[in-house]
């Protein structure tokens, strides 16, 4: 074949690719927006006393087995979230561990469980829709009957949240689903329900963001009041307890209030940062802390979600299958000219 033909072929191929890419409808995909009634958690490291009530309650509410990291298998001692554990409290320790919520010679507690990203990598990564994000509440759920066990979600999550039961012949992914199975009974996330100090607070993300800002505005060292359990927006109806009971009318009506009594405590010195408000396109679990989040094991993430980047590529190349079909057309045209059935003999040579 001569040079001319070669270039013609190259040009044809290139043109086909270019048209494919150009005619493709997809624009760069932005981060997804926060669902209207997004539910989440607010974890305040400065309030956490490390009692692990949330770890125990999580296991009970989700029917998860015990996990042991010690030789004596007396009680549940998970090192990290895993196929058997959806939620852990980890300790940050430095030097003499004298003061809580201080980086140097201090200590702090940190919760690790699903962040319920606004634009989750796991949902974008899953090839079979086993990971789903509820369009209304934004809770990221997992369906083991759909799952093929490829673990792309495990690898993709920047927080390392979905975990896998490697020791089973019928394994599955384990991750926090914000106790969605309890919602129908008017209950909410078990971790928030049992938290004695309100360090883990459940509620709508919009309400929790307000609460986080309220805390950041507090004067360190002064007594303040912290809601516990479920922080309800004013318009939210009473979901628990007798609706006709004492004070029910008030609760259903006019102010943001938690279902449990408030926890009085001295306001801590917060870092001026609500982790999860901007990170990675936002997460529905928000965090406050006195110690840098990186020291607590949470990565410093850009505001754009990786799912947006990944889907931009996929939509550009494969949106509506326009580009592949255009390229296939061009390739077929070229191949038809160049391929001669072998039986008739006479290849180029």
């Amino acid at each position: 074949m001569d040079r001319r033909k070669f270039f013609k072929a190259s040009l044809a191929g290139g043109a086909a690719l270019a048209t494919g890419a150009a005619t493709c409808p997809a624009q760069a995909r932005d981060n997804k927006p926060l669902p209207s009634e997004a539910l989440g958690l607010l974890f305040d490291s400065t309030l956490c006393v490390g009692c692990k009530a949330c770890v125990a309650a999580c296991k009970e509410a989700n029917g998860m087995p015990m996990e042991f990291s010690t030789k004596d298998q007396y009680w549940d001692t998970p090192l990290d979230i895993s196929g058997k554990t959806l939620n852990v409290i980890k300790a940050y320790r430095d030097g003499k561990m004298e003061v809580k919520d201080r980086e140097e010679n201090g200590f702090a507690f940190i919760k690790k469980s699903c962040m319920h990203c606004v634009d989750p990598s796991c949902v974008s990564a899953c090839p079979v829709s086993a990971m789903k994000k509820d369009p209304k509440t934004g809770v990221v759920t997992y369906d083991k009957d759909a799952c093929i066990g490829c673990r792309y979600c495990v690898a993709a999550c920047p927080f390392g949240v979905p975990r896998f039961t490697y020791d089973s012949a019928t394994p599955q992914i384990s991750k926090c689903q914000l106790c969605v199975h309890r919602h129908k009974d008017g209950k909410y996330a078990a971790c928030a329900e049992v938290c004695p100090t309100g360090a883990t607070l459940y509620g709508r993300v919009s309400v929790l963001r307000e609460e986080a800002r309220r805390r950041l505005a507090m004067k360190p060292g002064e007594m303040a009041s912290f809601p516990r359990g479920h922080l309800r927006a004013a318009e939210e109806k009473v979901l628990q307890g007798a609706p006709q009971g004492k004070g029910a009318m008030q609760r259903a009506g006019w102010r943001v209030e938690s279902d449990q009594s408030a926890y009085p405590n001295v306001a801590a010195k917060y870092l001026d940062h609500v982790y999860g408000e901007k990170e990675f396109g936002g997460t529905q679990m928000l965090m406050l802390s006195g110690v840098s989040f990186q020291k607590l094991g949470y990565p410093d993430l850009p505001p754009r979600s990786d799912a947006a980047a990944s889907e931009t590529i996929q939509h550009t190349l494969y949106g509506g299958l326009i580009a592949p079909i255009a390229v296939l057309g061009a390739l077929t045209f070229i191949a038809k000219r160049n391929v001669k059935p072998e039986d008739e003999g006479g290849h180029h040579g």
Partner: protein, 385 residues
Amino acid sequence: MANHAHAPRPLGGSTFTPFTLLLGVLAAIAGVILVYRFINGLGAVTNLNDGYPWGIWIAYDVVVGSAFACGGYSMALLVYIFNKGQYHPLVRPALLASLFGYTLAGVSVIFDLGRWWNFWHIFWPGYAQVNSVMFEVAVCISAYIVVMWIEFSPAFLEKWGMKDVKQKLNKLLFFFIALGVLLPSMHQSSLGSLLVIFGQQIHPLWQSGMLLPVTYLLTAILLGFAVVIFEATLSSTGFKRQLETDVLAPLAKVMYLTLAAYVVLRVAEVLIRGALGTAFAATWQAFWFWVEMACFIVPLVTLASENARRSASKLFVGAVLLMLGGMLLRINGFLVGYMTGEGWNYFPSFAELMVTVGIIAFEILAYIYIVRNYPVLPAAQPATR
């Protein structure tokens, strides 16, 4: 160049040699380990963990394995799209190697899937999630395996004497060839795109972002050429046949140009993203980056001249280095440069490794069996003239 001299013919000869026996034993060991894995779960056999949910079964068997199987793709691209008919004798053996490479890559995915019995969900409209790169890769690879079997079927049809079917197929073959070029372009680039969603979890030296599909596609084509040269050299030595230097030398030139394009792109891409600084840190990632780059740059130097490309030994060494470089790019991207957070360790377990070895052994064994019994390799004069 006489056409008929190159018409493919079965090689003949005995399938049972000490070498094939060894391969058989290795494949059998892998089989036993896999039975154990399906009964007791992935954890019983592999060192996989939640920090490294993907081990060598994905990084090597699937990602590298399918790239090594790009010989058929690269040759089809060259012969049928760029109409370089002189390479036609190389197409069928390359296609065979690709067929095995891809089929086994596809099968090894099943070994790695935790809930493998649900595999069909990928192709089922209610389940399929089209935004997923994994979905694209899985569908595309599966389709390509089917297309390749169709492309290769003339070899079987010839042997079984089904002339009618073969003729009908031959008339439609151009379409399958076009598909056979499109599909690998799609999924080989997508194997790179798999890493995009890992974001910061991939070391900056390998997180090329939007360019990942380009670098992976380019190296896949490059690897395709290198593998064809590698296999041609091996089979000429192994089956005591004349080395087709006249065909390989110009092919080497095409490979060289692809290589040059890749190296320019890769260096520019690392520089522009400002990731080069991390290559001078005292880390394993930096070390393996330089090894990987050396594997690309050394052939760029040694294969620069026409004479060098005519030298069987230099060409062979160059091809091997390029295969190594392409392999390292993928292993580095998926394992060495994958940093999911502090505290996680992974190195394949012995059993895990033996499965990979067994798969490779099985692949070689099947290749030997097919070329001895089916018309694949071009009939050529014995090495001794």
